[in-house]
Symmetry: C2
Subunit: 392 residues, 2 copies
């Protein structure tokens, strides 16, 4: 129960309480918590200067006990009879949302077996779709932290080198194969000076957001051997503005999927149970084109974090690691246009009669996600959206 007047199916009920950074008009960005159609101004409601810094980082760095204490306090405020904090609610329609945290390092994994198999078939025809290492370790690589941007910021079509197999030499120009990758991102709060065991995942990771890892497939195909994706990815990565705490996702936890290859002990997550029953929705110009299911991901976030740190690599507050493109088994569960239109062979047909193989200038892509909440409703992870601007 709550004294708040919450819309039915809000997705931002009292079991969610995600954190973001907002401003109203030209005032200073500060931390807020989404509740129904409002944002609670945490700087004002708590008086704690940590929430007036314009970034979640300093709060995240305080660690799990502080996260839990504040969540309990918020729950108390919203479910009690005292509506004192109502004075600090701002209509969500009035706020501007900012990048919620300063990204330290950004790592992108590749943990959907369906996605990796599809890309292997498309990028390396004639070879087995999964590389020999794929089921032994969660493959990942570092992306560009400096070009992570918040939902709503446009994406300028990147230019670069591309060379079709039949071309004698590469040419330069705007990407002709601009794509999306629907992913879920995990935000590190508490730093670590060395390996983080699978079981210690929740002591370091604060929460999750929705990620669109924009990809220029033509640039990527020409550059990625032997050192991996670079300019095909580094122009932009968009994240949703609300970071949903792991604590809100208890009802979404499911058993990890069955694996058919035994993993090394440091990757054993049978006791961790951090499969997550998240459902993603990808919309192109307002039309739903895919519903990728997250729960089938082969590698879970605790495994990704354990792998990322097992060599002694340190973690910083603000480190972001993303799942990799979420693709399910079915054609309408794929998380990239490359897969949805199968390398251009089966174009998507939109209701206006147009077709798409990759993104056109002016297209708007929105990825949203939901999860089961402990009260039986579904909570929202919000959405990440951007419109494509022409190359400059």
């Amino acid at each position: 129960m709550t004294w708040l007047d919450l819309p039915a199916d809000t997705g931002f009920g009292v079991t969610n309480l995600p954190y973001g950074v907002f401003s109203v008009g030209g005032d200073r960005p500060r931390t807020g918590v989404a509740i129904g159609d409002f944002v609670l101004d945490l700087a004002a409601a708590t008086g704690d200067p940590v929430h007036a810094t314009g970034s979640l980082n300093a709060f995240l760095a305080r660690g799990p006990a502080a996260w839990s204490a504040l969540r309990d306090r918020l729950t108390g405020w919203f479910t009690g009879t005292d509506d004192t904090v109502a004075a600090h609610l701002v209509p969500r329609a009035d706020v501007r949302l900012h990048l919620p945290f300063a990204v330290a390092d950004y790592v992108d994994f590749y943990s959907s077996q369906h996605h990796a198999s599809n890309l292997g078939a498309l990028f390396r025809p004639g070879s087995p779709p999964l590389t020999p290492n794929w089921k032994h370790l969660p493959i990942g690589y570092h992306g560009r932290a400096g070009t992570v941007q918040v939902s709503g910021v446009p994406v300028v079509r990147p230019s670069g080198q591309r060379k079709a197999p039949a071309d004698p030499v590469p040419t330069f120009g705007p990407s002709g194969r601009l794509d999306i990758e629907a992913e879920v991102g995990f935000v590190v709060g508490a730093p670590a000076s060395g390996p983080v065991a699978v079981g210690d995942f929740a002591a370091h990771v604060f929460g999750v957001c929705v990620v669109n890892d924009w990809s220029a497939r033509d640039l990527q195909a020409w550059e990625y051997v032997p050192l991996g994706p670079f300019l095909g990815k580094s122009f932009a990565t968009s994240v949703s503005p609300w970071v949903v705490p792991l604590a809100a996702l208890e009802a979404a936890r499911v058993d990890p999927p069955a694996r058919d290859v035994e993993v090394l002990p440091y990757l054993d997550d049978t006791k961790a149970r951090w499969g997550l029953d998240l459902r993603l929705t990808v919309s192109l110009n307002g039309v739903e084109v895919s519903n990728p299911p997250f729960r089938h991901l082969y590698w879970t976030a605790p495994q990704q974090l354990a792998h990322l740190t097992v060599n002694g690599a340190t973690l910083r507050t603000g480190d972001l690691f993303a799942s990799g493109t979420v693709s399910g088994a079915e054609p309408d569960e794929r998380g990239s246009l490359l897969e949805l239109a199968w390398n251009g062979e089966t174009p998507l047909r939109l209701p206006d009669g147009s077709t798409r193989t990759f993104l056109e200038d002016g297209d708007t892509v929105t990825i949203s996600a939901t999860a089961p909440a402990i009260d039986g409703t579904r909570l929202s992870l919000g959405e990440v959206t951007a419109t494509i601007e022409p190359a400059r």
Copy 2:
């Protein structure tokens, strides 16, 4: 001329003036300039609080006019007759040197043809040593900014997965093939919101440092297909403590090497003349084992920066991009043990009778570099050193 009593062959004369961050005893880290056997305390000498922040970033962000003005002022102080600033000189032997700048994004290139050819032959036997894209674009990838550390900090041997071709499954344990990569790093000062043309290089890059990009070859070989190096690199990257301004390297500039493949216009550096006649020295436990020449690198730093940003990727103050391993044509000019000992086939023999194919616990590696100075002497880029500690 200078009123300073400079040692002969100091390498830190009045034509060098590199910037670092130092402290004495337990006091607060602040910016200093190396001069002879001393460090000038810039915070005290200038009274400018930008030099008391414990990082070069805020000063670097001011841009080329500010860099140039301060360099002129320093030159005036050291070459004039007034020795007032002598009061702010601290013996270099008394200072502790810190990481000189907060690393934003770290990119590692792969721009030595000899190195890339050697690694291609070792990692992909039977295939052409250079991939088809190598002479069309400077191949690079993002590394882990959070594990860049200053010279002197030990390197703990990383553990991880490795699988020799004959092994049925991977095993986990300390790397048995821990290696170095002798490189030169370029430090971005002035940010950019989009492409940086080859000719605008010096308007954004402040200076250079020496880099050791530690590499676990066994981890790298098993993980790097298809998304590139990850845990094989992310445990540590060491940088020298002194950032030498580009302005000090005028006498080191040479024509770029001849290229036998025509490059796209955005990579044309024929007018930029930013080949650099730097000489690197690699020492293992005090014994010189290699002298990699930098001037022959196929891709120059302005080309690397133009490529890095041509897709619209933004630059931040503190971005670091490294050349890639510097290897020359001769066997004693190679910049990694993998090449020097040719994948273990020709072990290095040290004067104590021992041999090395890769690094052993307790080994100390020091990489130093020099460049011609405008007064005919050689200036020092300092050194980057670290000792290997056993796996934990």
